[in-house]
Symmetry: C2
Subunit: 243 residues, 2 copies
Amino acid sequence: MPGDADIASVAALMGEPARAAVLMALADGRSLAATTLAAEANVAPSTASGHLARLVEGRLVTVESSGRHRYFRLASPEVASALEALARLAPHRQVRSLSQGTHAEAIRRARTCYDHLAGRLGVALLDALVSTGVLHVHEVGEGSDPVLGAGRARVYVLTGDGTSRLAALGVAPDPPTRRPLTRYCIDWSEQRPHLAGWLGAALLTRFAELGWVLRAPKRVVKVTDAGWAGLAGRLGVDVDACR
Amino acid sequence: MPGDADIASVAALMGEPARAAVLMALADGRSLAATTLAAEANVAPSTASGHLARLVEGRLVTVESSGRHRYFRLASPEVASALEALARLAPHRQVRSLSQGTHAEAIRRARTCYDHLAGRLGVALLDALVSTGVLHVHEVGEGSDPVLGAGRARVYVLTGDGTSRLAALGVAPDPPTRRPLTRYCIDWSEQRPHLAGWLGAALLTRFAELGWVLRAPKRVVKVTDAGWAGLAGRLGVDVDACR
DNA sequence: GGCACACTTCGGGCCTACCCGAAGCGTTGG
DNA sequence: CCAACGCTTCGGGTAGGCCCGAAGTGTGCC
């Protein structure tokens, strides 16, 4: 547990509204240009530039120049983990305008978390994969650790039947990277796990290929009519629970 | 992944040096009085009182009144997780004074993390338990997730042989709580896992009973001569690696 | 080559919030 | 019952940092 590390400097970097907005915009792993991030944070380009310089200097963000653009992205997965941990503690921002309200609702329904699905749909998808036997859950110990709530030791294993069912859908778990096949991530809006890891990413990619989902701005994911039908029919997702 | 949550307010709460010092002091799960925390943060009692009120209002900390004292503690394990995630990103504070230097060294050698061992000793202990066959490691997937660094899916299972060896040491894994038997925690100073969970706590408690370790102020753990001998001889810990 | 664009640096205005000491309230102990 | 203690509230001084607009550098496009 923490002891001597200078938490304050990192937290202060994340604790300024404009910088937090920048980090949140980068939270799905994309690289974005400075102007885009300025708009995202609702500040002037000059202001954003200063904030970005501080984020880079604090090693939370890296830059890559490309022509006259400079693309920023999170420096490491650990940064995303920290944002995730903070989001779990954060009060949900109160809704001010109608558009904010609909966006807040949309982002809770279905969004991307890096490269996989999150929100009610992400949670329902994982539930469906487990209840239909595509994945088996192994719990280590029972209940939740009273001391370390995060990182509950739960492991999702792809079954043989699951492998063939996914192959029928066009998702073949080749080992293209050294990335773990399954991983989970506690959803900040649902407070329940959704599927991450290689499989989580592969499913989102395949859903997009099939025309089941469309990636809208601001991390929102829109599900098409074919998508709702396919998720329910082919994977057993409880689409009513996702609205 | 984060989307709409108001990360900035939480991070700002953690991003002020005095408040961060308070949170770090509470990070091992203790309840401490306001005056103690003021001293810990090097601010006047009145200043600390204001910070504590804000931490309570922000739901990072809870209070319990007892006579003329008020005892503060972290509001939830999630708060500790967030601190942990930030500590992993934090630059190690540069050493200013000799006493800070020796303390920084001591805390990296052996410290408590909540109720179990961390630092080089904590890491070496887990290594020893694995290499001597007390625990078996199960990896799910291979390597590290390029997207989600934290929460690597690794599971430590107590072996039959391990159970009897621990019993000989006076540690019997009764199921006294619903807490998981084993759990790990990425050590912020070593960037490698150390043992947490019920077993991690039981081992620290037993080491203290045996007079192997003494809990010094500021989370530092001192190992006695008998402790070094016992750790090496009975558990196979590479004590040289711990210094 | 020249204009438009992306971005950064600089200067100055403003405001937040951190800090402390003094004073007030409640509790404990002699 | 009074003194010491723990803690909080209040007032005022200070400093740091956030914001923008204007100006400067470098790149791409016509």
